[in-house]
Amino acid sequence: MSASDPIAPPAADQRPGKAWRPFALTAPALILLVAVIGYPLLTIVLRSLSEPEWGLQNYAWFFGAPVNLTVLQRTFVISAWVTLVCVIAAYPYAYLMTAVGPRVRLVLVLCVLIPFWVSGVVRTLSWVILLQDSGVINSLLRGVGFSGVKLIRTQTGVVIGMAQVLLPFMILPLYSVMKGIDLRLMRAAQSLGARPSRAFLTVYLPLSLPGVYAGAIIVFILSLGFYITPALLGGPRSTMLSTLVQTQVLSLLQWGRGGAMGVVLLVTTFVLLALAAPVMRSRHREAGRH
């Protein structure tokens, strides 16, 4: 890729003084990035430290109020559930995508991509229609003689809806890893005496784990910051951190407190990413690439 590549034309060496060119190409995007992401995030950090006055009082408030800690904990629990549901549903699905012929695969891929591309608001709307007290699921239950169940504004409803919206983010990385697994290794394992189930556990599963990690990290991080689905499907007992941030800022005009929550969410996200990066990199190396 770079100028050190022996095959690539040594453009940088031939024309000294033009090394700044690649940086110039990235400059417009970077300027926009700084203006529309960097500056706003900086503003939020500053406000969390300065409103109403300079100090850490907003953070002290956040970690001092049990309500906030409950919501923080709930955000993690819901995200963990969503991730778990996604792994369980995506694993066999992604595996099937690698095992079938091109025609069936196209159908399976479309089943993933179409929801992926359909507007997230519309998909959440569908879940409202499905889960509400007068919704599809309850109508069906009553139709066969059961009493209705409370789904909307419950944690279960939020998990079901969020997992469905996030499932493609789990399936796609899993599929791309599984596609690269040499199925002939399973044959080798069998010739060495492994039952199919044993061969799966000792060979296929470990080789597919990088995909599971990658997908799980993405799903978990996106879950942490999810806003629309919990806002529409959840109730007061399933409030997640994002909703709390929105309430502080838009309804209570508490920029400092809302900012502090936002910073906590932001820092958590990046800490998770930083923790995941070395794990994924070492997995990568084991899988045979340097």
Partner: protein, 370 residues
Amino acid sequence: MNPVQASRGAAIDLEAISKAYGGFKALDGVSLRIEPGEFMTLLGPSGSGKTTTLNVIAGFTDVTSGKLLVGEKSVVGVPAHKRNIGVVFQHYALFPHMSVGRNVAYPLTLRGVDKATREARVARALDMVKMGDFAHRYPSELSGGQQQRVALARAIVFDPPLLLMDEPLGALDKKLREWLQLEIKRIHRELGTTFVYVTHDQEEALMLSDRIAVFNRGRIEQVGTGRQLYDEPATLFVGRFIGDSTVLRGEARSDGNSTALSIAGETVTAPRKLSGEASPVMLLRPEKLSLRRPGQSASGGNRLSGTIGEAIYLGSESKYEVKLADGSAAIVRSPLTGESFGLGDKVELCFDGSDATLLADDASADTTLT
């Protein structure tokens, strides 16, 4: 053929094995007996059924019909993981997430061998393939040749009575291949296990094997030692597949105990007769042919006139391609001590009729080779 250490290997009997994929017959009535401790090579062009045969023995492929016995016991329907057969694959098939040591220990772990015994046997197997220092490396850190040696260690560590090898050296360069051939031969001698080796490389087959089974289009054409296949090919396909050869075709006439071919006005004879209806051809090995300038006096024997089409210097000898009057080509090898010829020289191709092998003509022998 290798009776000395035959004790630890298993015999294999394939009886009329057929395998059909839809309408395509991958194997068409293959029968073969492999003796305990023997080194048997399945040789043939790609698509000839040799790898399918190996997969049938390993248990990766079900048979459509026929009997298969390993160590005098039928294994039809027995799944691969219960057959206790070592397999070495062309693509190495080492587990990328396990170190070399864990790869080799894998079959022992599956068999519940305790840790101490396991370590000792892994070390012994790795020493046998001269990879003892690499136990902690990962497959991605090894060269192709090293990976294949580890794969070999993994396939022999659980002492299977039978080892199958599917073109194990196919992905390696020539030098490494030749060295590993010697290693494989040594390991076969040391273990006494039955080896079944698949290759499309006839030189490799000749170098390694006790016996060779030549496959063509889902059938076995001939089974025999390398010398038998070279000197007495049973079919034109075998004659052409093993070693260099010249095939003479012409209008055939048989009388009494000899056959004469008339080729573009010249006639050659062989003191033999082909049984059956098929039209006969003569197959000649390059070292049985000699070249002379036209008109030079010579003793009896067959002569055909031709022109030198190609002259190749090979160090210890020269190789000539001679264009014959009917447009076909003959390949002649002659020592450098003899007379040398240049491009376009008119020559006479001479051979003794008793050196010619008479075979039934089979036009497909040419097409399947290319």
